[in-house]
Amino acid sequence: MSRRVTLTLGFEGNTRDVTVVIPDDEPTPWQWGERFALVGQPTPRVDGALKATGAARYTYDVQLPGMLYGAILRSPIPHARVRSVDLSAAERLAGVRAATTIDSGEVRFAGQEIAAVAATTPDIAADALKLIKVDYEPLPFVVDLEAAMADSAPSVFARGPNLGKPKSSTVGDPDGAFAKAAATIEATYTSPVQTHVSLETHGAVASWDGDELTVWCSTQGVYAVRDDLAVYFSLPPDQVRVIAEFIGGGFGSKFGASPEIITAARLAKAAGAPVKLMLPRAAEHLATGNRPSAVQRVKLGVDSTGALVAIDLKQHGSGGIGGGSGSSGPFRSVYRCPNIRLEERNVYTNAGPSSPMRAPGWPQGCFALELAMDEMARKAGIDRLEFRRRNNDNPVRAAEYEIGARNFGWAAKSAAPKQQGPLRRGIGVASALWHAVGNSGPEAQVIAHRDGRVELRIGTQDIGTGTRTILAMVAAEELGVPLSTVASEIGDTHYLYSVPSGGSGTAPSNTPAVRQAAANLRDKIFRLAAPTLGAEPGDLEARDGQIRVRVNPSRAMAFADVCKRIPGDSISAQGERIANYEGFRNDQSGCQFAEVEVDTETGIVRVVNLVALHDAGVIIDPLTARSQVNGGIIMGIGFALFEDRRMDPALGVMMNPTMDDYKLPGSLDVPEISVTFVEVANGISNTGVMGLGEAAHVASAAAVACAVSDAIGRPARDLPLTPDRVLAAMERPA
């Protein structure tokens, strides 16, 4: 059965009523002006102390009795046929318990898996790798993007050319619009391959008990890994258990049973003992994924009012032996434009495969689009923020522009006289867009115990964002109990199904399932309490740790006292995440303002200040939400200024697969960051929560690059903006 309800949705100064039909066992979606006890309160992470003290158990920390240590041999050369792999000497080494080849066909990048061993200590495993004899037949290779596109370039795949087929789309009449445009600009923007650099590397601990496999692994999707392993080993899924209690980051690189997870399980089976196999840092850079490079030729046109009339993007990029280099997302949807032509092409090179990385395609697309927007605004003689306002039709972003401009001081900074010395400040603004509405599928269970404890269980995982905390907050809110009485149990396929943590989907997919389960449990608690309170269950409410009569709150029982009436040891209820409602909007915007200081004599850039405006529906915990925005910005600064997978074209290998040479921002490279959320009640699910991980990262590099360009008075079109690049950009005519 279902019911029809009219919801007030929207944000400050912009609400409207939306009528939706919702199932009977689904709580009414949170609306604009909803009053909460816990939701929205800045709340320290429930597992913060565990992490700070080292008590949190990551895959790296798992120790099992009799556990062996696995290690993987990787190809040092970028392209070869493997004639033979001789494991015999490795197998004879004392302490080696299993050795296996990893057949991944032809070697197509330096770092590809060749063989693996398991031994009683990590040192013996490392020694054993050195005893494996591999007979390679080297083949010609190419690692450079432009070189790979030449007709004479060595083929990465025998099945086709290195230059993939173009993926094109056209809306309206771009050629006609460019011909009539009052002004146009055209420029090419480049960005490098960026690697994920999760602080916890990929890896697993695998343990067999007969035909039952248990795997602890650092993953964004325990269920996805379970299903992959079940297929690989031809087991029913219920004979595979995957556990990820704590995860040191993933950023899109940790979906499914990757080679090291399967290898750990294979070695464990062969050795008849548990095997731990965690990747060393270099392998993490070489083989576990990356954000593809991009070369984007962008053309924009405006009419005499400053309205965008045409966009043209021609892009190519390389994800090594992987694809997914496309960057057109921002061009098709951030700004209003009637005539758009987009063309994207993958280029294959002998380098490690791409994998999804934090808003795949968007940070690089946003970088090119926003720099082009700046160049267009300057040519049209319009303030850069005003130019964006004129071409924006998203009311949430319009509000964010205004709040951001005020917090950042855009007008005053724009009017400030140019400095005369070598240090020049510059400002930039860039817009974000994302669609983290979440998916149906997750099922949650919430349990009340006789002693008053509440436990929630769901097969999601926390990749570092604070999932345990926000889920516990949602359950505590619904049950009217203090957060300290609720424990979140996640990261285990023994709990009910949840979706992988990707696409910023964890919060929007899981919070509604938890809320529904908690609401169903609350109804059971009401039925337990009703006779004592002399009221109908439907007349009760759960607040302040009490179950009480709504019209007469003095008739109340403590939640814990109601739990004492549980006939057995516990009562529980389930909830499911149902499909999205129509809601207010199904997108989220956001914008970021950056101020930088450039030493124009050395080309060294310092980001001074970053003001971020974001919306993510209802913000459950402003502290963890802000942390995600901080992280997205810092990763964006790395992309803008430092990070670059540097491949030697003659050797075909990555020269900087270390934390030393692959340069990530450190504490002194992080600016003052101010984060403001525009709360939106979007009614898209019963919580209306949206994800933030990607939205927070989309615009950061673009805002920084726009600010650098402003500081030096010339467009800085090539990332990363290392001193050599900045000095080179300054050589261009202004």
Partner: protein, 340 residues
Amino acid sequence: MNRFEVITPTDVGSASRLLAEHGRVAIAGGVDVVDLMKQDLVEPPALVNLKGLKELQGIELRPDGTLRIGALVKLAEVAELPLIREKYTALAQAAGEAATPQIRNLGTVGGNLLQRPRCWYFRNPDVHCLKKGGDKCYAIGGLNRYHSILGGGPSYIVHPSNLAPALVALGASVRIVKFADTAILATAQTELVALDKFFTLPTVDAKRENTLGAGEIITEVIVPPPAPGTCSVYLEAREKQSFDWPLVSVAVVLSPAAPGKPVRDARIVMGAVAPIPWRSPEAEAALKGAPLDEARARAAAEAALANAQPMSDNAYKVVIAKVIVRRAILKAGGIQVETA
């Protein structure tokens, strides 16, 4: 990493004798040695642990006015000691700019001088380059954005030490001890080597960066007293502000450093530009004999880089080096410069 034993001698004589045996490596802070071992770049059968040696500890101003810094003194201590900050400013600044607080709390003065180059071809265990006995410097025609612009060939590494340019500019020496084993007594041979003679170019031996031989130990650094009115400055340019190696560094010692007075003596030594700390007599000559001003500093910086021979990707280092040298000279001379 190979299997190894750790031997902890209690006196420098035993340490020297232990280190004379083939392949053994000294360990103090362990910052670089452990890294090299993890990459299989050194595979010592034994590490000789110097940490307990009394002869290598402590900082003192000696009666003759010289400053003695034990080789085991931590970078953090050099950076923070008021005596060094006031009289040997460039040295304190060089130590303070190195690495991270954690590494400065572990890394020693001796280790900083003796650390191996950061070249990514040298550090890659799969690349058998000239420095490892191969026949080729891969920086030539390769990725050389961080390589040398002066004094390169046949290897084009840059010397990675922060302290070395400052100490060379301050006229420092290192005491090197070697104990010859005799039947009854160990006899110490101790030698004071000027630091500008200690570091050697790849033309001497591409596999080494200095003259330290087997069984030899740096026990201390001796810095002469600065002439009255001397001022010293160390500056470096880095891509990142946290935990990064300098693209270019420079130490400048000027005396007298008072504005308006003619410069009597100048020492200018650049780091991260050449396989050794690179002293520039040309730049020094450009400063001597006249009062310092912006134009003179600029001319000296031009002179310092006049012989630069950048590689395919590192011409920008020449630009940055000129700026850093000029700014450091002006700072040492008490002339204000606007810098980040």
